[in-house]
């Protein structure tokens, strides 16, 4: 990400959507026009007659063409559920998804297909997302026919897609079967398949989590390159906040179904406001700190045990209360909403003055 986009003064004009104004303006807005927007998304899953899982609570986000927004959080925090609602695969319990300025309505099959060709969802697992009995060419020619119509020269289009994801020489990869490809190559095929629809939005759900560290970068560089060339609006879902720092404009941190912090990637990772973001960052391996953190044992003391998403009747209090070093009675009684810290940053915490004194006093505003 370039310097000027992390500068709050460079933020673009607010976008008028007819809905209540968002608490903050995304830095990704500086990249291009608004493509896809989620406003107040909620998703409840009925677990039993008495139990409801509030998997996603009041999540709002905006994706801009040519911009990357990262959705970061531990497993079970609701990231994939948000993506599935954005992709039209899951109906929100409440809230709306707005594409190119219009609320998304997927009641008819043709509307769903049209939407799907604009908003593509790439799933994390490169090992199960391809059908073992079909070759690469088959995986790509089907969506080309489906989304681009029968008039296009399908085979030429397939070759172009393979080139685009750098599976070259393309002619060599087209007849290969999934088992003949490495994990990274399979993930490239998944990207190519998504691009066959010529989407304007790509929802990449943990696209590199299953891959070796050494090839993750190549894959992220490829995604970044595609974003630039095709002006894609990208949602990058990950549990690795370090990669979000390098790869995204804006970071949204999810915890137990809620966005607890959002802001420019560099700011959030270098000066985290929310106690959970602070824990995430303190937990990431720190090669610059040889041995010291683990050996001093201070993280062991501070690190929380297992804390799961809320269940039961409408949850009260801050979802992080059971793990938070700053918790008090107010936290246990009332769930804090996202509050603006600067024009492009917000966090949901009652006690930012104690958790992040430098931010709360406006030192960086």
């Amino acid at each position: 990400m370039s310097e000027e986009t992390s500068d709050p003064t460079a933020v673009a004009e607010p976008v008028v959507t007819g809905e209540p104004a968002p608490v903050v303006q995304s830095v990704a807005a500086a990249r291009g026009p608004l493509a896809l927007e989620a406003i107040g998304l909620n998703k409840d899953f009925r677990l039993s007659r008495t139990q409801t899982l509030h998997a996603v609570q009041d999540v709002s986000l905006s994706l801009y063409k040519g911009g990357v927004v990262a959705l970061v959080g531990e497993s079970g925090s609701g990231k994939s559920t948000v993506a599935r609602m954005l992709a039209g695969q899951e109906r929100p319990t409440s809230g709306s998804v707005i594409f190119n300025g219009k609320p998304v309505d997927l009641k008819s099959r043709s509307a769903f297909r049209a939407y799907k060709s604009e908003v593509q969802y790439v799933f994390q697992d490169p090992f199960s997302s391809l059908n073992p009995v079909h070759d690469v060419g088959y995986h790509l020619s089907r969506p080309v026919r489906l989304h681009q119509g029968r008039s296009v020269e399908v085979q030429r289009e397939v070759m172009a897609l393979l080139e685009q994801v750098r599976l070259t020489p393309a002619a060599q990869f087209k007849p290969k079967y999934p088992h003949e490809l490495s994990g990274g190559q399979r993930q490239r095929v998944s990207f190519a398949r998504a691009l066959a629809a010529q989407p304007s939005v790509l929802l990449a759900d943990e696209p590199v989590s299953m891959l070796d560290v050494s090839i993750r970068l190549e894959m992220l560089n490829l995604l970044d390159d595609l974003r630039k060339r095709l002006s894609l609006a990208l949602l990058y879902i990950t549990h690795d906040i370090a990669s979000a720092r390098y790869f995204s404009d804006e970071v949204l941190v999810m915890y137990a179904g809620q966005v607890v912090e959002r802001g420019p990637a560099e700011d959030v990772t270098q000066q985290p406001a929310h106690p959970y973001t602070q824990l995430l960052i303190a937990s990431a391996p720190d090669p610059d700190n040889l041995g010291s953190v683990l050996r001093s044992g201070n993280v062991a003391a501070g690190a929380a045990r297992i804390g799961r998403a809320t269940s039961g009747p409408a949850p009260v209090g801050c979802p992080f209360a059971t793990r938070c070093p700053f918790v008090d009675d107010k936290c246990r009684a009332e769930n804090p909403a996202l509050q603006r810290i600067t024009a492009d940053r917000a966090a949901a915490c009652w006690h930012l003055d104690r958790a992040a004194p430098a931010l709360a006093t406006g030192a960086i505003a």
Binding site: M1, S2, E74, S75, S182, G183, G184, D212, V213, S214, I215, R216, L217, E218, L220, N221, D224, H239, D240, I241, A242, S243, R245, Y246, F247, T269, L279, L280, I281, A282, S283, A284, P285, D286, P287, D288, N289, L290, G291, V293, L294, R295, G297, V299, A300, A303, A304, R305, I306, R308
Partner: protein, 348 residues
């Protein structure tokens, strides 16, 4: 490290998988030792032979795997003899006694390694009683203590594996490995599938337990950033061979082998300035085609014709202050890595 005899010493170990299309040489002439109380990290991309080396050293591999050469010397305090025991040649009875009791393994997939129909408590009791045969009361007491030690609440003693989160299952695996007070614990990617917070928690626990109980750890992972924090020494493996070996601090500040340098340029860091990131373009070789010389040639930016004749023995790193810092590459020095021209990283 100390000059005393290592607890575990892998000498010139070679393992191959006999397949219809030829031998897959998954480990070739590996030398690696583990001293008392030491954490040695074994690092490399998937397919580089890390698991093969570890399981081979414990004689846990089944056909088509064959050990084609080498020794694995174990000299724990309980072997009772002045001479070390060669695990690869020990009679089955000695071998059974050593495995789990003296050398324990935490396998790569915690779910598959646990028995799905046994409660957590019984899994650990079984592992313990197979070796220690304690009185019932004492065994139960020890089980509860072990679960405390790895941070599993007592009320989960009666849970089945599927009722636990990934992090808790991994803790159960660690508790099982520690059940018989081993001297060496081999951990194969024990935290790869876990979230960072849980991962850190478990790593901190491993270090704490190690300090309390005094065992040695061979920690296997593809994530170099973890090892820099966790390990005393790091061994870097590629295509079944060791490329570099040294103290973590030396590997970090003066990586000598181009593959190590690539691994160090692979992960984004959260702390400090944004770094130049390139990863390692290309992919590991097919271990069936063994060309002479260095296996890293196709992916190496420094490769010269002489690389095809390199004999792959580990030699001291030129210009490194580290004792025991060795590399298989006779061409590249840590200095050369420093002057390399930075290329464009993600989002520059």
């Amino acid at each position: 490290m100390s000059s005393s005899r290592p607890v575990l010493e892998i000498r010139d170990l070679s393992v191959a998988y006999r397949t219809p299309s030829g031998d897959v040489k998954a480990a070739s002439h590996v030398n690696l030792s583990l001293h008392k109380g030491e954490v040695v990290g074994l690092c490399g991309e998937s397919g580089s032979g890390k698991s093969t080396l570890a399981y081979g050293a414990c004689r846990l591999l089944r056909p088509p795997a064959v050990i084609t050469g080498g020794q694995v010397l174990y000299s724990g305090s309980r072997t009772g003899t002045a001479t070390a025991l060669d695990i690869l040649r020990a009679p089955q009875r000695d071998l059974r006694a050593i495995r789990w009791r003296d050398v324990a393994i935490v396998f790569q997939s915690a779910m598959n390694a646990l028995n799905p129909v046994l409660r957590v408590r019984d899994q650990i009791l079984d592992a313990m009683q197979a070796h220690l045969r304690l009185p019932r009361e004492e065994a139960h007491e020890k089980t509860a203590k072990l679960l405390d030690l790895v941070g599993i609440p007592r009320e989960r003693l009666r849970s089945y594996p599927h009722e636990l989160s990934g992090g808790m299952r991994q803790r159960v695996m660690i508790a099982m490995a520690l059940a018989a007070d081993p001297e060496v614990v081999i951990m194969d990617e024990p935290t790869t599938a876990l979230d960072v917070v849980v991962q850190r928690d478990i790593l901190a626990q491993i270090v704490e337990l190690k300090e309390q109980l005094g065992f040695s750890v061979l920690f296997i992972t593809h994530d170099m950033s973890l090892l820099l924090e966790l390990a005393d020494r790091i061994a870097v493996m590629y295509a079944g061979q060791l490329m570099e070996l040294g103290d973590s601090a030396d590997i970090k500040v003066a990586p000598a082998h181009p593959y190590t340098q690539g691994l160090l340029r692979s992960f984004p860091s959260l702390h400090g300035a944004r770094r130049d990131l390139t990863g390692i373009p290309g992919s590991p070789p097919d271990l069936r085609d063994t060309n002479p010389g260095c296996p890293f040639i196709p992916r190496c930016e420094f490769a010269v014709p002489a690389c095809a004749e390199v004999d792959m023995t580990l030699a001291p790193v030129a210009g490194s202050r580290g004792i025991g810092h060795v590399t298989a590459c006779p061409i590249v020095t840590p200095e050369m890595a420093k002057v390399r021209v930075p290329t464009e990283g993600v989002r520059s």
